[in-house]
């Protein structure tokens, strides 16, 4: 399979993630979309690492995974505490800092 197919998959994932993060109104789905974007980035890194024979890409991909885990933990904690306080996780309803 030619290498650029992986890049295309990565692009598609990143696009889906971006659209999801921008358009979904549920905070949980936004978080999931962010995870998609991170996954797309990792995939691109791995593809180029293999294609160029440079191991640094693998290392960064691992790093991204660790980061994603931490982000998910913090993000979910925030979502939970927002839900406790406001009984909703609809991003349209959470706009206290308007103006």
């Amino acid at each position: 399979m030619p290498g650029h197919y992986y890049i295309l998959v990565s692009l598609a994932l990143f696009f889906i993630g971006t659209v999801g993060a921008l358009l979904r109104r549920n905070a949980l789905f936004v978080l999931m979309s962010l995870e998609l974007q991170l996954g797309a980035g990792s995939l691109a890194l791995l593809t180029f690492a293999r294609g160029l024979g440079d191991q640094r890409g693998h290392v960064v991909a691992f790093f991204v995974m660790a980061l994603a885990a931490a982000e998910a933990a913090v993000g979910l904690a925030i979502v939970v505490s927002v839900y406790r306080a406001r009984k909703t996780i609809d991003l349209d309803a959470i706009s206290e800092l308007r103006n």
Partner: protein, 739 residues
């Protein structure tokens, strides 16, 4: 012993630092002992350095110690170096010796004050700074000491800061001194510009060779004149000369030991020291010397007249100090540097003694210094009275006492000096005559002080009279030592005319010692010396006699009659000729008015309203205008972020057009090839401009072009490469040389 000079200022400075930091933890006795020992140890080191190294100190031009190189810029190096020659050594001994005595005295005088650690710390700070000033071998080091003593003086004048008058007297002293310091700085800069060094010895050597310092600077006067004049402004500030003398009488607000040490014996003489130190520079500028002498004589006379009518014990002594400093300036101003320093030396003893007597008297009089309420203290304060009598006779210039010899030396110099040359020859006799009058005045006001305070019946009220008592031993002991100094210190400078009577020849010890530092003593005819001695003694005795007629045993009828006949004159002198009020009208009030205007216009309107308020207004308007962007919707922010990132990415990550060109020159023909590493050539268009006329000479998709120039010259070829796909463009400019 040569390397111990740095200990001299260091010991008191360490004492000051320790007492400021930890003084409160110690008892009164420990604090007093520490402070006194710091200065006394400094005295021991000074004496050791001075007397152990006597031949080197006196005859080989002094000993120098380089503590460390302070800073260096370009060709200029400023060292923290100290130097002891006869001049600075003498001053060192005076400062540390009298300093020690006054520390001892202060132990008794300040025995009721709670704030003693602060007091002794400041006194030590003063001694350290003064020694730095005296020993400094470069002008910046002298200046540190100069400012240090100013600071210590300010702190000590306002020592009892809870009284507003004391605090403002301190401020007055400091600000007046700042005016003088400005002059000092300018003088220093002028000397540096002319000689390229700040090292005192370097400047003096340069001055002895004439050279750069004699070059005209402004209005046809030489650098030496202006430098000398500006240094004298500094000296006039520190040494309380017209027109900057006004701070010294007010400085009496400080504790009396401070008045004795700082405002009589040592700090105020720093100006005289400075002029003597820079003697070689002044010798190049007789006109500057004439100004020094005339200002000194005017001050001597003027302050003496004010002294006639003062009714505060310390104020009389303060004006007396101003007047005596005038004498010293006449001494140095007539190129009679040894004479001026001699008077500085003797004055330190008798004036410190007089001030300490004043302290003792005020101690006895429950703190009051009003001489109209004194009288008859002679019997009640036997020791103080004896000491005062000796110092009084010394300052009046009665023969055998020290003041007689030193005042004589100055008068001799004034009448005999030939430094001014033809045009200014009148200056010497003029200032000499003024000083004779001032000497008469001195004898009069000092005798008035003596008679009113110590003779006749006591005019104080019952309660105060009951309390009058002699001071404790710690106060009397320094008095006695100073009295001995007031008698004996004159004998180091006995004039040649008298030395001859005792079978000795040549100049006095002091003049011989000072010769390497300040130049040879003046040649004075013996006839002049005898004449001056007779006239000076007559002036002194006349002054004392007049004062006895007016005030012997209290206020007598001539005094009342005189006051009734010339009430205006008396009140004018009592009001110090209203100079303070004059300065108030001429300088202070216009300055305050200007400050108020600046405050209202610049501060209130320009800064507060326009600069600060204006910016706040702009920020506020923009904030109101743009806050709709802050929708509080995190996804909208995310979208903006994404778009911004995309734009940034577009700008930075798209491929750039190539910028490498290869030139081949053959004769007059140049061929240029743009090298495209990216091999994106399909999208690139090139335009070549060989002759620099702004019009493309070759254009198209070809990366290379050839051009033949008309003749040899330097040409600038510019090539514009445009990438049609990524919309980037690059302009390459290259100089081509055709030979």
């Amino acid at each position: 012993m040569f390397s111990h000079l740095h200990m001299i200022p260091l010991l008191p400075l360490l004492g000051a630092a320790y007492l400021i930091l930890f003084g409160r933890r110690h008892s009164r006795g420990v604090v007093q002992t520490l402070a006194t020992m710091a200065v006394f140890a400094s005295f021991v080191v000074s004496a050791d350095a001075f007397f152990a190294g006597l031949p080197a100190v006196v005859h080989q031009g002094g000993i120098t110690e380089l503590v460390y190189e302070w800073f260096s810029a370009g060709n200029t190096t400023v060292d923290l170096s100290l130097r002891m020659d006869a001049l600075s050594g003498l001053l060192c001994l005076v400062v540390t010796f009298i300093g020690t005595l006054i520390h001892i005295y202060s132990a008794g005088y300040m025995s009721h004050d709670e704030d003693y650690p602060r007091f002794f710390a400041y006194l030590n700070l003063f001694c350290g700074a003064m020694l730095m000033l005296v020993l400094g071998d470069t002008l910046p080091v002298v200046f540190i000491g100069w400012e240090g003593v100013g600071l210590a003086s300010y702190l000590l004048i306002g020592f009892w800061y809870k009284e507003n008058a004391n605090a403002s007297a301190g401020k007055k002293a400091f600000i007046t001194n700042r005016i003088g310091d400005f002059g000092f700085l300018i003088g220093m800069f002028l000397l540096f510009r002319a000689t390229g060094t700040l090292d005192i010895q370097g400047i003096l050597d340069s001055a002895k060779g004439g050279g750069a310092l004699t070059a005209p600077l402004w209005w046809g006067q030489s650098v030496a004149f202006w430098a000398g004049l500006f240094l004298f402004v500094g000296a006039a500030g520190k040494s309380a000369q017209i027109p900057l003398y006004v701070w010294l009488p007010d400085a009496m607000a400080g504790p009396t030991p401070v008045s004795a040490l700082i405002h009589a014996a040592t700090m105020v003489t720093a100006g005289v020291y400075l002029v003597a130190r820079m003697s070689a520079v002044y010798m190049l500028a007789p006109a500057a010397l004439a100004i020094v002498a005339i200002v000194g004589a005017l001050t001597a006379l003027f302050a003496a007249i004010i002294g006639f009518a003062q009714n505060d014990f310390k104020k009389v002594l303060a004006y007396s100090t101003v007047s005596q400093l005038g004498f010293m300036f006449v001494g140095v101003g007539t190129a009679n540097f040894a004479g001026g320093i001699f008077h500085l030396f003797t004055h330190a003893f008798f004036k410190a003694g007089l001030f300490l007597c004043a302290g003792s008297v005020m101690h006895a009089m429950s703190g009051s210094g009003d001489i109209t309420k004194m009288g008859g203290l002679g019997k009640k304060l036997p020791w103080t009275t004896r000491v005062f009598q000796i110092c009084w006779l010394a300052i009046c210039g009665v023969p055998v006492f020290s003041g007689f010899f030193s005042k004589d030396a100055i008068l001799d110099g004034a009448f005999a000096t030939e430094v001014y040359g033809h045009g200014l020859a009148w200056v010497g006799p003029l200032v000499g005559s003024m000083l004779l009058l001032a000497a008469l005045g001195t004898a009069f006001y000092m005798s008035r002080l003596y008679f009113l305070a110590f003779s006749g019946p006591c005019r104080a009220d019952e309660h105060t009279q009951h309390h009058i008592h002699e001071s404790p031993v710690s106060m009397v002991f320094p008095l006695v030592v100073l009295a001995a100094g007031a008698i004996l210190s004159g004998f180091v400078g006995v004039p040649p005319a008298i030395r001859e009577l005792f079978g000795k020849h040549g100049e006095s010890t002091l003049a011989v010692w000072l010769e390497p530092a300040v130049g040879a003593p003046l040649e004075i005819a013996h006839r002049t010396e005898w004449l001056v001695m007779v006239f000076a003694t007559l002036a002194a005795l006349t002054g004392i006699g007049l004062a006895y007629v007016f005030y012997g045993g209290g206020y007598r009828s001539p005094a009342h009659a005189f006051a009734k006949k010339f009430p205006g004159l008396v009140s004018l002198a009592r009001d110090k000729f209203r100079i303070d009020e004059l300065y108030g009208v001429l300088i202070i009030r216009p300055l305050q008015a200007m400050c108020r205007i600046v405050f209202q216009v610049v501060d209130r309107i320009l800064i507060d309203k326009i600069l600060i308020g204006g910016w706040a207004f702009v920020v506020d308007v923009f904030g109101r205008a743009f806050r709709f962007i802050q929708a509080g919707d995190v996804q909208r922010y995310l979208a903006v972020f994404a778009i911004g990132l995309a734009v940034l990415f577009w700008i930075t990550a798209r491929p750039a057009a190539p910028d490498a060109v290869r030139f081949v020159v053959e004769g007059n023909t140049v061929s240029a090839t743009v090298v495209d590493d990216e091999a994106a050539s399909g999208n690139l268009t090139y335009s070549f401009d060989f002759n620099g006329d702004g019009i493309a000479d070759r254009q198209g998709k070809m990366p290379n072009a050839t051009w033949t120039f008309s003749g040899p010259a330097d040409y600038t070829v510019s090539i514009v490469v445009e990438d049609t796909r990524w919309h980037t463009r690059r302009t390459i400019k290259r100089d081509v040389e055709i030979r």
